[in-house]
Amino acid sequence: MKEDLLDIVCCPLDKHDLELDIDEEEDDDIVSGTLTCTECGEAYPIEDGIPNLLPPDMREAA
C-alpha cells in the first residue's frame, strides 16, 4: 500500500483514524506492517502490500 491510503482508510469498527507502523518497505510501497486504531487500539495487519481491514472477528473466522 501507498502511505497516502491513510488519508482515507479508518478503523472499520469505530471509524477513527489509523496509525501506521512499517515493517517492510519497497520503493514507496509498504509491504508489511500494522495499522492501529488511534481510538480503540485494534491492530490491523498489512501483508504483501495489502492492509487487512476486516473487522477482527471476520479476520480470525477464516
Partner: protein, 225 residues
C-alpha cells in the same frame, strides 16, 4: 462457508479473470456513464480482479481503491497492475474501512447482493460518499432476471434478491437519491442458432435473448445529496 473461503477459492482457481471477461460486456457501459473527473477518488466494492479500477484510471481519476473480502482476490488484483494510484484493501461490505465523506464515486459489479446486510451496506456507502458523489450498483442477480434465481444453489454465501423497485426503495431509505435505473444489455455474448437449444441453461433461443439482450445487468445509480 464464509465470503472469504468461498471467494478465495474462486481466486485461486482463476475465476477472477473469467468473471472479468464476462462482466466486462456490460460493466464497460456502466463505467462509461460515471461522471468521474480527473483527480477524483473512486472505490470499487467487491473488486474481484480489479478491472474497473484499471479502466477508471485511464480516465484520469486521482486514486482508485478496491475493497474485497477475499484476501486472494485482492492479492490477484494487486498483481495485475503496477499503477501507483491504484490500491487494494481487504474488508467487508458491512463495515467499510473508509472515512466519512472521503470518496467521490463508488462502483460495484455483481457483488452488492453478497452483503450479509445490504441495508447496512447502503448506509455505509452513503456515509463514505462526499455530497454529490454517486453509487453505481450493477447486478445480474435480481428478481426480474428469473434466469439468475438458481445461482444461489451453487454458492454457499447467502445472496439477496431484490427487484428493481426494491433497489430504488432501499436506496432512498438509505438517503441516496435514485438518479437512474436501467437494464444494460449484453450485446457481446454469442447467442447460438435456435438449433442449439435447449442448452443446459436455456430451453429456447428466445430465453437466452431475453436474459442477455433485454434483462442484462440491472444498474441503479444513487446520489449522495
Amino acid at each position: 462457508m464464509s465470503v472469504r473461503e468461498e471467494f478465495d477459492e474462486w481466486a485461486a482457481s482463476g475465476r477472477d479473470k473469467g468473471m472479468e471477461e464476462r462482466h466486462w460486456h456490460t460493466a464497460k457501459h456502466v463505467l462509461a456513464r460515471m461522471p468521474v473527473e480527473a483527480g477524483d477518488t473512486v472505490l470499487d466494492l467487491g473488486t474481484g480482479s480489479g478491472y474497473a479500477l484499471r479502466a477508471l484510471r485511464q480516465r484520469d481519476v486521482g486514486r482508485a481503491y478496491g475493497l474485497d473480502g477475499a484476501p486472494e482476490m485482492a492479492r490477484n488484483a494487486r498483481s495485475y497492475t503496477e499503477d501507483d494510484r491504484v490500491g487494494y484493501v481487504v474488508g467487508d461490505f458491512g463495515s467499510l474501512p473508509f472515512a466519512t465523506d472521503s470518496v467521490d464515486h463508488v462502483f460495484s459489479m455483481e457483488a452488492f447482493y453478497y452483503s450479509a446486510d445490504p441495508l447496512e451496506t447502503l448506509a455505509e456507502v452513503r456515509r463514505v460518499l462526499r455530497p454529490g458523489g454517486t453509487f453505481y450498483c450493477a447486478v445480474n442477480y435480481y428478481e426480474e432476471n428469473t434466469y439468475s434465481h438458481a445461482w444461489q444453489d451453487s454458492i454457499s454465501v447467502e445472496m439477496t434478491r431484490w427487484s428493481r423497485e426494491d433497489y430504488r426503495r432501499n436506496f432512498r431509505e438509505a438517503g441516496l437519491v435514485v438518479a437512474e435505473q436501467d437494464n444494460v444489455a449484453d450485446r457481446e455474448i454469442e447467442i447460438p442458432d435456435a438449433a442449439a437449444f435447449p442448452t443446459e441453461e436455456f430451453d429456447t433461443r428466445e430465453e437466452m435473448v431475453e436474459r442477455y439482450r433485454r434483462l442484462g445487468t440491472l444498474l441503479t445509480v444513487g446520489v449522495a445529496p
